[in-house]
Symmetry: C2
Subunit: 300 residues, 2 copies
């Protein structure tokens, strides 16, 4: 029996344990970070908003001019196949396409590579820290890569700015960072979008960020509750002076922010309610796709 306990992957036509899934060093997905990806999750055996992730993934494949010999049904089958092999109820499921290895230096000559891996669910903030605690963030001095260079709505692996932000956070006593733009507005952190709440009004950066599926879910859930929400520039001082703030990510869902630059946020009702609504939404059949744990005979 193949050991899928640490996770299952699919690449180049075959399933394998995630530890055996390796990208050729000459693939531009590594040498140029010339790749796009998406991350869905399963919770209690069901994918959450899988169609939104697949829509975005297919759109980004086209925008970066990749082409893969897998249609949407085939991609979806492989996502199920990885979760089923890893036998996970709560999974972090990443699908990706790399440029591949061109002849010479012309990316048009490369055969693009498609891969998927499913591993146990990832938490940016562990749930035992949700109730009386939250993320301790610092507002970094580092700018997020600008959309004029790399479009943040095309989900990509250009994270050195975010990793620098993490190290800055550790030095300043935080655990994660929010990066800024050139005018001092906050944008996003390593893997999460940001919502700032003050006097009952929520705001989230309108541009320069990944349009996360969890961000979109939070927008819809706030609207359902009748919370006023503004998509606009959000200055760093607004985060520092917020009543409440939350981070949103597939890797952990809606996560309260406890402190900003060492100052504890006063807190309020909107964040905790959004967190509860987010997990309650996982019971909504409209947003759920049951994992096909029993794979058809002869499945690739």
């Amino acid at each position: 029996m193949t050991d899928y306990a640490a996770g299952a992957a699919y690449m180049d036509g075959a399933y394998m344990p995630v530890a055996e899934c390796r990208i050729p060093v000459l693939d531009w997905g590594f040498l140029r970070s010339d790749a796009t990806y998406d991350v869905a999750h399963t919770w209690q055996g069901r994918f959450f908003r899988l169609d939104e992730h697949l829509d975005r993934f297919e759109r980004n494949i086209a925008r970066l001019r990749y082409s893969i010999p897998y249609d949407r049904d085939a991609i979806e089958e492989i996502l199920h196949g990885c979760v089923a092999r890893a036998d996970l109820q709560d999974a972090f499921v990443e699908m990706l396409v790399t440029r591949g290895i061109p002849q010479g230096r012309d990316p048009r000559t490369a055969t693009n590579r498609f891969a998927v891996f499913a591993v146990p669910f990832v938490w940016i903030l562990r749930p035992e820290r949700h109730d009386d605690d939250g993320l301790n963030v610092i507002i970094s001095s580092i700018e997020r890569i600008r959309a004029q260079a790399v479009d943040p709505t095309v989900k990509n692996y250009h994270w050195l700015d975010l990793v620098r932000g993490l190290f800055e956070a550790y030095e300043r006593g935080g655990e994660t960072a929010v990066l800024i733009d050139s005018r001092g507005n906050v944008l996003e952190g390593p893997g999460f979008n940001l919502f700032v709440i003050r006097d009952g009004v929520a705001a989230t950066p309108a541009a320069g960020v990944l349009e996360g599926v969890t961000r979109q879910t939070a927008i819809e859930l706030l609207e359902r509750r009748g919370v006023r929400l503004e998509l606009r520039d959000v200055h760093a001082d607004e985060l520092r002076g917020a009543d409440e703030a939350v981070a949103t990510s597939t890797a952990g869902g809606v996560m309260p922010i406890a402190s900003v630059d060492g100052r504890r946020l006063p807190g309020g009702e909107i964040g905790p309610r959004l967190l509860a609504d987010y997990w309650a939404a996982h019971a909504d059949d409209v947003w759920a796709t049951p994992v096909r744990y029993t794979q058809p005979a002869g499945a690739r």
Copy 2:
């Protein structure tokens, strides 16, 4: 016999054919492009300015807070080992460090990974096109990633802006692109620095670019010839209106630029002389390190 014809690599303590050198998909070097690298070359069996590449590589490892269990002698031995196994006279030799696989999402917990590969020499512009021709470049509308986000002097794989530039070049009838900053100055292209020459004076961007070893060599060779050189902002209109321009890269050395945005540059004497000086400099023993083709018995 192991077949090293396509190139030789070293990773995780062992030599292997380059096609077998693969990065684990979970390594942040892939998932976060959290890596640095350097590229040296050998020409006629000798490394060119190897010390400069090693100085920069070691400095960048420290700046990104990586730590590897290889001192400078060990790194150098592995560079020689890869070139010797691939039995190459003219080689492109890339050394790299990745973050590795952290526990959870804290990069400080990862064991960093070191790898090297040597492949046949890479030409951005083939030498048969040096004499009466040159690169046909377009000035892209895309900005290079800013130093406020990712420091370009720390050599890195964040190339999606440059790859977008390549596709823009193909659409506009060029073969490569020069990216700009937010004020319309030219910065660098996919793997090369840029020198613009007008009325006998050369200029190259002072900041916002990789401080390439070939760029530094060109600076020194121009000084030796008594050519006035300015390190400063270089506006795109200066490239469009240049008498001559050259690209510099380890992957091809000094390369003439034939046209900019479809307009042929008039040409001159400084570029061709610099190209000749660059290859002549490879005979200088001060800058050359003979490859140790005979490896010691028991070499790793």
